[in-house]
Symmetry: C2
Amino acid sequence: MQGKAENHFDYTLMAPGPVNLHPKVREILAHPMIHHRTPEFDKILAQALKRLKIVFQTEQPVYALSSTGSGGMEVLLVNTLSPGDSILVVNSGKFGERWAEMARTFGVQVDELKITWGQAVTPEHIAEKLKTKTYHAVLTQACETSTGVLHPIQKLGAVIKNYQHTLFLVDGITALGAVPLPMDEWSIDGLVGGSQKAFMLPTGMSFVSFSKKAHARFEHAKIPKFYFDIRKEIAANAKGETFFSSNVSLIKALNYVLAEIESAGLAPLFKTIQRRADFVAYLMETLGLSSYAAVKSASLTAVALPNSTDGQKLRELMEVDFNLTVMGGQDQAKGKIIRIGHMGYIQDKDQMHLATALYHSLQKLNMTPSISFIDFQTQMKNWLAQN
Amino acid sequence: MQGKAENHFDYTLMAPGPVNLHPKVREILAHPMIHHRTPEFDKILAQALKRLKIVFQTEQPVYALSSTGSGGMEVLLVNTLSPGDSILVVNSGKFGERWAEMARTFGVQVDELKITWGQAVTPEHIAEKLKTKTYHAVLTQACETSTGVLHPIQKLGAVIKNYQHTLFLVDGITALGAVPLPMDEWSIDGLVGGSQKAFMLPTGMSFVSFSKKAHARFEHAKIPKFYFDIRKEIAANAKGETFFSSNVSLIKALNYVLAEIESAGLAPLFKTIQRRADFVAYLMETLGLSSYAAVKSASLTAVALPNSTDGQKLRELMEVDFNLTVMGGQDQAKGKIIRIGHMGYIQDKDQMHLATALYHSLQKLNMTPSISFIDFQTQMKNWLAQN
């Protein structure tokens, strides 16, 4: 679809979101529309909302909203904070930056903990900050999509939970369902996921949940809000409805994905995604490439490129010659990395296609790998057969 | 799908949104996902945004956002108003009420022009109000979904345009694409549509446009906003992107629907929808039923029921016995009306099914029509053949 006439490959999507859809999801999206005020949909909504708790690993309710992930980030923020409140935002890339900007827009005082791109925040960073000032909340990404870094959420939660006035709000958009992120056990007070990531759905929904500690804030949070006022959704969910028109198609498909997760458990899903990350790690090692992220998330790999290799060109070559979409870098990482997603419906043949595309595209950019293509391919095949 | 084992009918959706999907839309929704940062999607987005202008009948840009229609209503409001501003809201039903509540949430001073449910506002109503006070905006529905009323938007626009400090913001969610609503010609300053209505798509997107008069307000509008800040979307659209992750599936399907409209023109679409409304008018007349709305919108018909007939029961019977979803009344109209949608993919066989379902369900509720079923059916068939 993407490529020019020269290539004859089916389109392969290997971005950190949106991801390739599960075939059954595609089938469900093609179903005739049903109304959201019908017994059939009532049942689907109730099941989906209950099953979302499995992925969030929480006893608290999870809400399903019509917005992108960023809308869900706003939901966490505007329902727990007031203008003038002070928060600490871990800014380790594009999405940390976004959360800081968003909070400032609503009159919240933001202290940014700036982390070098590619690095992870440490619990010590946070502990130090919390000693100096009372923060109403600490905000971080679990996985920063722009760098592929996985932050130590469990350890951060263990620090923050000791501060009774401080909430721990986590953007789990590129992490939920891909890596363990047990909300209750890790003392996360607000957690957001996005449909187009490990949920294997199209873009269009965000999923959010709040701890009891966060819930107690709702009545005091003075940022004005209507569409993102979670109290409206809570009241509607209590009646078995969504407050606004239900996103029927996505909720039906979501319920299918969650039913699969319910029946198999989260562990196999994490394992599948980790295996894809491990394969790409092996692929990088074989080609003499390294990780951009100091601590890698299983959800995506940010591949650091030598200075002589233009990441934008590499990405374009892979798209034009191999009909394969991976992402490039953003802002300060532009041209320096490519980002390969491990979520969604990806098969071993797609992984082999990625390996082939990367090998030949690097070669075309005069960064010829030291291993011959035939040996390379054999090694990759063997890895997939043995792991 | 909906019904119990006793009925053997395919599901028929005849609500005022969501609507039955076009078969081609369903096919597109089942396509494999493509990334939103690809040349293929760039082209689709550019086409869709341009084609949206055809439905809005405007020279101004139209923006496509990931939210329900209510999110789009919020976009119109928060981008043009500041806390303390005064507005006049036409409250003629559920959605007028919602807009008033939304505006108050953001600190806007709201004067409500309360219209009896089922009645339309008049230009005189508005003219009178505008003489007494300077309003920053007048807000109204084009069609109030809860009552089926069509308000005289053209005439209201002609009054409001004389006030240089007053914007005319119109909720066209249940009207755009179903009835004429030429934004520029009728001096509408902000207009919002929703994907699950005449656009024949699933719920999940809102479409908004602003006049130049409204655009000039953006820099002065002080209501805090991030997700719904239209300036972000304007900047992103200028680069051929959406600011947040693109709703790829819906935008692809939208582009198909709009291409059809572009090639056939808006007139045949309006005519098709009007014919469905006319059929239901004839059906009501034949069964001795009348319209709840004093001025009917072609997008839906609100059928007034005799006091002895419980609208909730009627709706349920049609669903259980005929696997057909129409909507009941809300709030003060609960039990007193049923609402039949005329948008989306509806064929004559669906209209016949509606007629049959209504006849038999009324009979079951002891409101036996004076005409025999066989004569009734013949008349309905003849109408469809002749119109």
